[in-house]
Amino acid sequence: MRFVSAILIAAAEEPHRDDNGQIVTHHWLLPEQAEIIYGTISSLLIFALLYKFGAPPIKKGLAGRTERIRAELDASAAALAAAEAEAAEIRQAKGDIEEERLRLLAAAEAEAEALLTDGRARLEVELAELEARAAADLEAAAGRSGDELRSEMIRTAGASLESVVADTLDDATQQDLIESFIARVGAST
């Protein structure tokens, strides 16, 4: 209070001129009294105006910023929740993939086993058929050999027969055969 009073007193002093005619204030720091009064009034006026017209936009801006920050926080929370959900889905998918892999492996093994079983069965059938065919071929070959042998025997017998007959046919027999033919044809009508 004493400081303010001292200021006001000092401010009440009038400026004066020095020896060189230059205006000199009463204090190198403190303004004149009137300047303090007008300055104070204008400052208060400015503050009032600022409060009246500047505070609402500032409040509004702060509120908007607060809202924006809250929205960002909400978005972050939502993103976090989504990421966690996605992570859960991925984990589940990973589990599903593993399950699918196991299922596919099991199916492949089952199919391979079925193929093997089927192949073995088919092989056995083919083997049996081959054996049967081989047996039939052997039997046919044996029959053929028998037939060929019989044919050869007949051919040889035929050739021998022809040779024996040709040797038997001397001139007299030939003439007898011719005479016999002529007589037989002559007798027929």
Partner: protein
């Protein structure tokens, strides 16, 4: 012209030449025997039908075979003409057609007789009479000596075949075997 027409044309020409010469019976018989020889001999058939052999050479083969009194000059000339014209392959068919034509001109039926041994003239006459009696047709007897018959005779008159050959009996026996 078809082969049949060409063969018939040659046969008619040969027939007219032989008849004009007055040696039809003899020529016909010689040609018939030559045709059977031709059929049974692969070598002769090859020599007379080989296009690589010049025609003059083929004709010389014919003249060597039938010449020298083996056949009448007319027969030699006729065969030589057919072979020289490159129709050697058709020779049997031409001759058969000629024989058929000659027989028809005399109202005779060709009787082809195959025997393992040659027939005597007496046997020919009696066989001819027997075949005439059996078929009711006058026959023009053509005897072919064919050893494959083995024994006996096979006579063919038109579509009728009278088989008294040993060959047929042997074949039947083989079949039964």
């Amino acid at each position: 012209m078809s082969d049949e027409g060409r063969i018939d044309g040659y046969a008619r020409a040969l027939f007219e030449v032989a008849r004009a010469e007055g040696t039809l019976d003899e020529v016909e018989d010689e040609l018939f025997r030559f045709a059977r020889t031709y059929e049974s001999s692969d070598t002769l058939r090859d020599a007379l039908t080989d296009e690589m052999v010049p025609a003059a050479m083929r004709q010389k083969v014919v003249e060597d075979l039938l010449g020298g009194g083996n056949a009448t000059p007319t027969t030699v000339q006729l065969v030589s003409m057919v072979v020289g014209s490159g129709r050697g392959r058709d020779l049997p068919a031409i001759i058969d057609s000629l024989v058929q034509r000659a027989s028809s001109s005399k109202n005779l039926e060709v009787a082809e007789v195959r025997s393992a041994v040659p027939l005597t003239d007496d046997q020919r006459d009696r066989l001819k009479a027997a075949l005439t009696n059996a078929t009711g047709k006058q026959v023009n007897l053509k005897v072919i000596v064919d050893p494959s018959v083995l024994g006996g005779i096979v006579a063919t008159v038109g579509d009728t075949v009278i088989d008294g050959s040993v060959r047929t009996r042997v074949d039947q026996l083989k079949s039964r075997l």
